[in-house]
Symmetry: C2
Subunit: 212 residues, 2 copies
Amino acid sequence: MNKDISSAVIRRMPRYYRYLGDLLDDGIERISSNELSRLMDVTASQIRQDLNNFGGFGQQGYGYNVQYLYEEIGKILGLDQTHNIIIIGAGNLGHALSNYVRFEKRGFLTIGIFDVNPALAGGHIRNVQIRMMDELPEFVKTHKVDIAAFTMPKEKAEECADLVVSLGIKAIWNFANVELDLPQDVTVENVHLSDSLMQLSYRIVQNRRNDR
Amino acid sequence: MNKDISSAVIRRMPRYYRYLGDLLDDGIERISSNELSRLMDVTASQIRQDLNNFGGFGQQGYGYNVQYLYEEIGKILGLDQTHNIIIIGAGNLGHALSNYVRFEKRGFLTIGIFDVNPALAGGHIRNVQIRMMDELPEFVKTHKVDIAAFTMPKEKAEECADLVVSLGIKAIWNFANVELDLPQDVTVENVHLSDSLMQLSYRIVQNRRNDR
DNA sequence: TAGATTGTTAATCGATTAACAATC
DNA sequence: TAGATTGTTAATCGATTAACAATC
């Protein structure tokens, strides 16, 4: 129905959402694309183009109602629904993710954490129990799981992907440093921390060269 | 000197590096842009264009030597140098980052972790001592610090940015969910986990709509 | 009504892909 | 030498910006 919206646009939507949330907190009622443009350091034209991919949220001569636009973008991003997350890999990163209380406010709820290490069995992270991997199939059958977050070592990632796909999970938030090979009805969002660090490193080295 | 290379290209370099590393591990000696293209699911044309931003690393009729190309991309990304990192915020995420042994292999070394919580003072994460924030200025003066990783709550981020900038640090790896306002000789790489999760959420909701 | 600002079309710019001559 | 494959130029495609008529 919605014709495909370019990923460049999608990438910017959470940023709009963030800025509008801040404006809302500051009690700002309305904002024009021009003011927002100055605030966010993007062109007003881009803001209007981006938003109009999803509909006309503004009003000529007035601008945008902050609260309304904030809520609409929230709906676009699916933040009006609850997303149940399981975390596979109870290492530091798994801990970190499950502790992000802020996510909960946006409707993301960690309902299970899984690991292979028997030493962790029965433990809890903020009242979410750590379970062993062999309990995963039963758990997914008895709970609604929307997202599997992958925080295990990359060597295990492909195997885990096969498992969760076979259990019917349709979305993976992948922190393991490999590309997963998935059926096309399963969506994956990669967070490659080491790629990110390398990009930073590139720019550092580049700046040093320019200084000379 | 190097004319500006588009960020789209830079973003792809770590991925090339990753794939070439895997090929190297598999004992593959040479590869053509065409084979790599199939492997990575990008066009061969793009691979050749991307690489030729930095120089001619291949040979007509032969392709690319995997080892050589791997090392050259490593140099481009600055992985032939050591980068000392301090982590500000010793929460779960700070722990996770400092425990990424893999980063060390690429020349990224955590040399200090800082927090405001006195309960953490004197603790260690993998033989790196947790220090209090008031020790930071002295630490930066007596150690070479290339990167400050921001894993504190977003409310503290801007203030920390002012501090590390005033101490002469030129690169920030920012996990706090705000945009930092920085002088233009300071480079920042943002990792906005909640933005990432929202993009995933968008695609989940989108897929469900399409199913109907 | 006049002024402001959107929604949208048109123009520009940049990035990706295709093509092919150069050359190993 | 003939075949393969790069490096690079040209063509295409998509995304961003500019402009402006519609309208609140």
